[in-house]
């Protein structure tokens, strides 16, 4: 890390040196983020297109998009659901986040366990033809994997966004579409996941426009 922060080698950095190092580090990380995002979009183009077609077909047949994830991925799930349900342009479709309601989440976590917080909601709401879209930066979040298993059992289309090449998510039998990104850090992975999620929305919109 010291190559990014030369001043860390110094005993007494002054403010100007610190600020210059911080700015240089910010720029280097932004370039890396752009590189990882562009790479994820290029490498995953075919998988992205297949997932977008499947989601568009499911939505046109009356399916609903149900998004979920933990922590930062929960906020990404909320952002993706909002993008689908109230887009700045294009067609609005039924989409929501399963991490949005603290009453439901705390009831399930408290009474059953955190592994059940998404799967249990799919038992309540999921119908064949709906879409279960889970995000996990590690690819290994147990409650996301359990939701995929439950979704598959109920005839939902299962789509996953993951870092680290997909992790356990990619290896499991329950996921029909795995959109994986590969980066060295959690932060760059999350940024690329968001870029992939936005590209997915763009492609779904394009298909919805083609076949109204």
């Amino acid at each position: 890390m010291s190559f990014l922060y030369p001043m860390l080698e110094q005993q007494q950095p002054d403010a100007a040196t610190l600020l210059a190092d911080l700015a240089a580090s910010a720029q280097a990380k932004a370039v890396e983020s752009g590189r990882v995002c562009a790479g994820a979009l290029a490498d995953g183009e075919e998988r992205l297109e297949r997932a977008a077609v499947a989601i568009a077909i499911a939505l046109q047949a009356g399916g609903r998009l149900l998004c979920f994830g933990n922590g930062g991925s929960a906020t990404d799930a909320a952002g993706l659901a909002a993008l689908f349900a109230s887009p700045h342009s294009g067609q609005a479709v039924a989409a929501r986040s399963l991490a949005a309601d603290p009453a439901v989440l705390t009831a399930l976590a408290n009474d059953i366990g955190v592994d059940a917080i998404f799967a249990r909601q799919l038992i309540a709401h999921g119908r064949a033809g709906d879409i279960a879209l889970g995000l996990s930066t590690s690819g290994g979040s147990a409650n996301v994997l359990r939701a995929f298993a439950e979704g598959r059992r109920r005839g939902l289309l299962t789509v996953g966004l993951a870092g680290y090449g997909g992790g356990a998510m990619a290896a499991g039998p329950d996921l029909e579409h795995c959109l994986a990104v590969d980066a060295q850090s959690v932060h760059r992975t999350q940024e690329a996941q968001s870029a992939v999620a936005y590209a997915l929305w763009q492609r779904v919109q394009a298909h919805l426009e083609e076949t109204p």
Binding site: Y5, P13, D14, A23, A26, A82, L83, H187
Partner: protein
């Protein structure tokens, strides 16, 4: 037909000036947090972004990094919730476009609460002075959705932690910037301080300013109501900026 995947304009990095803005904002944030601040986060248009910032600071993804106090404010009743909770020395980080009225209102009032402000956004830049720190992506119209905002607050988190960990053995770089401490006569100076009305009694209003609360005479500005925003000088309200 295959939809073309939009290529973001960031392949070369951040726009000119933004790395420096991130550096100075991170140091200012680290100084406030070091002094005990809470960072309040708000995004009326995209509440999930405010929540992402809060969870980033409270529960870092990198093991071993200290948890820091950050809270996502609700998009509804934003100003009221911020007013009730924010304390002098706190930080308010908002994410949204420059024409967001709810953001405009809370940023206008924050100086009267003694709160340092950071505005993250894209598109047309806010007017100069709208916030203490502005982190802006003028050309990234999809930044709210495609990971670019996430990149900005990830960098803010990363750089703030660098400041907290490495700003000198005694933390001397985290000491607050020195204020001018010479003898100044308030009556003779041009000092005008922002104040938010707490309650009114006749022509006197109890107001909240960055330095605490005080009573001011409102004869010059006329009838006044709670939450009006005033400019005060030497115990007198001289201008009303916002009537409630």
């Amino acid at each position: 037909m295959t939809a073309s995947t939009s290529v973001r304009p960031d392949a070369v990095g951040l726009p000119e000036g933004l790395p420096d803005d991130l550096a100075s904002t991170s140091l200012a944030l680290a100084r406030r947090l070091h002094a005990g601040a809470t960072m309040w986060c708000a995004s009326p248009a995209w509440p999930h972004h405010a929540q992402h910032v809060a969870v980033e600071f409270v529960h870092p993804v990198i093991v071993g990094k200290p948890a820091l106090p950050a809270v996502a404010l609700p998009p509804i009743a934003l100003t009221a919730t911020a007013r009730a909770n924010a304390r002098p020395g706190d930080v308010l980080l908002v994410i949204g476009p420059s024409d967001d009225a709810a953001i405009g209102d809370v940023l206008l009032r924050a100086p009267a609460w003694g709160v340092t402000t950071v505005w993250v956004g894209s598109g047309p830049r806010p007017a100069a002075g709208s916030a203490d720190h502005v982190l802006w992506l003028p050309d990234d119209t999809n930044a709210a959705h495609d990971g670019r905002f996430i990149l900005l607050y990830h960098l803010l988190w990363e750089l703030a932690h660098v400041c907290l960990e490495h700003a000198g053995a005694g933390g001397e770089l985290l000491a607050p910037a020195e204020a001018c401490d010479g003898p100044v006569c308030i009556t003779c100076s041009d000092e005008g301080r922002l104040a938010e009305v707490v309650r009114v009694s006749g022509t006197t209003a109890r107001v909240r300013t960055a330095d605490g609360s005080e009573d001011v005479d409102c004869t010059l500005v006329g009838p006044t109501s709670a939450y009006d925003l005033l400019v005060c000088h030497a115990g007198m309200a001289i201008t009303r900026l916002v009537a409630t």
